[in-house]
């Protein structure tokens, strides 16, 4: 299986669509489509995320391979998969970009979560007030916030302060360039976790949902 995963990762990085689907189909046929997703797609995206973090692959490869995987998940499990499957611990997930016009980071996180087969509410771009209102109304357990600009990252403090009052159940996960350049920043703004690459969102959600009461 490891050799197959290595090959799958190489095929993704090379954006070799044909090979990617051959490898997935082989697992899906001999075992189950879900296993193909869990044993190839998820670990490969995690590896590619880590490679990017270590400056050993580029964001264009992260993005394009994420898209390819999302397509494959739809083909394997059917586009409705994310409405029938649930996130760990039945957690309600939401994803947003705060006060920032840069949506790419959020899109990549969304792709990764979809590839994991979990439903996630996409709030697109939000202001602090709008975000707090929606998070409370939707009873979100895990709110994922992406920012690219430093002032937007600093605004997360306002969100966590208000949520602590109004929706204490909500855990806040942050990510994006300012948090990568300053590894202390997520604590300073009162977040519960930070992902240095998009694929980390999966393990973080599992950690937080598993630890929730």
């Amino acid at each position: 299986m490891l050799a197959r995963l290595d090959e799958f990762e190489r095929a993704l990085l090379a954006l070799d669509r044909v090979r990617v689907s051959e490898l997935l189909d082989a697992v899906a046929a001999s075992q189950t489509p879900l296993l193909a997703v869990e044993s190839l797609i998820r670990p490969a995206l995690e590896r590619i995320g880590k490679l990017w973090e270590d400056n050993r692959c580029a964001l264009s490869q992260v993005y394009m391979s994420g898209r390819l995987c999302e397509e494959q998940v739809d083909a394997l499990l059917g586009p409705a998969a994310t409405t029938t499957r649930v996130a760990p611990g039945n957690a309600r997930l939401a994803l947003t970009v705060l006060e920032d016009y840069h949506l790419l980071g959020k899109q990549i996180v969304r792709t990764v979560l979809r590839a994991a087969g979990w439903p996630v509410l996409d709030y697109e771009r939000q202001t602090v007030a709008g975000l707090v209102t929606r998070t409370c109304a939707d009873e979100i357990d895990i709110l994922m916030i992406s920012t690219l600009m430093l002032p937007s990252a600093l605004q997360v403090r306002e969100v966590t302060t208000q949520l602590r009052e109004q929706s204490p159940r909500t855990r806040v996960v942050v990510g994006g360039a300012p948090f990568r350049f300053d590894p202390e920043l997520w604590k300073e703004v009162g977040a519960d976790a930070m992902g240095t690459n998009a694929a980390e969102a999966v393990a973080i959600v599992e950690g937080l949902a598993g630890g929730a009461p």
């Binding site: 400056n55 264009s60 016009y101 600093l154 350049f181 202390e184």
Partner: protein, 353 residues
Amino acid sequence: MIRNMTPMQRIVTTLGHRPPDRVPFFLLPALQGARELGLSIREYFSRPDHVAEGQCRLQAKFGHDCLYAFYYAALEAEAWGGEVIFRDDGPPNAGLPPISDVEDILRLTPPRIEDSPGLLRVLETIRQMAARTQGEIPIIGVTMSPFSLPVMQIGFEAYLLLLHERRDLLNQLLGLNEAFCVAWANAQCAAGANAICYFDPVSSSTIIPRSLYLDTGFPCARRMLARIPAAVAIHLASGCGLPIVDELAATGAAMIGVSSSEDLAEFKQVCRGKIGLLGNLNGITMRRWTPAAAEAAVKDCIAKAGIGGGFVLADNHGEIPWQVPDEVLFAIAEAARRWGRYPLDWLTTAGEV
């Protein structure tokens, strides 16, 4: 060696890969002039004399070795029909990309500088700076690279898809952007800019792999640099550059901006005597620095890249965030003067032990 050089002499000497009197430093405070003048960021950038005055005051205050004519990146997107969105506590951003359907690239024509009020303001700022400094302080103009500009013209996702799936449209767009950027850089030089900072983060290895750079951003940079009549610094805006350092040096650039996530010493090893280095203080953590932390960071950069010249100390992005306190900037300036005096005895002596 001249004991007290002007900033211009210092920069010219270091770019000739000889040690000047001290390590030059570029603070690159693009926004902070607003604070000096007691204006909002939007008001500040609304008039060219504000920016000329702000930059001159900041230079007098901190003693750095340039005047920075950069407003904000979205200004160039605005020339192509984009919107600029201001905020009170940071740089303005580009709004929705002006090109919503990539097929429209086929019908696009580049804007003329003289029809773009924002660009004309920058040119006027440069003329006013040039009149005030009389050639003693280098004036740095800025252009987004034709290869990085599309992120703001069509959006990042659409651009990544274009790069992978639509080479025809990519080449068409790059051709238009090159015509625009050459005109824009040349206009800044004619107005009095002494050097151009060519911002090209999409070429960085953070964003695209070296193989893709070799057939896209690299040939584009080579064509561009041949047509800009001034020294050019290629700035990856804190994106990584080590995997493409040889190509960056082969573009004809005088300097490369280095990210804080890479090792300046590794760059120095490859670049010594060939191409100058600019960097690589972390602007994001800078807002929390104590004066001692600032001093340590400055010493570290000088130790890694200062010897022999070919080095300008600066932040790693080409712009100091609004949230960085003045005390930190004073501490950086102070440390650069204290530890940057050539022949950098504290390093050579330590090195001999």
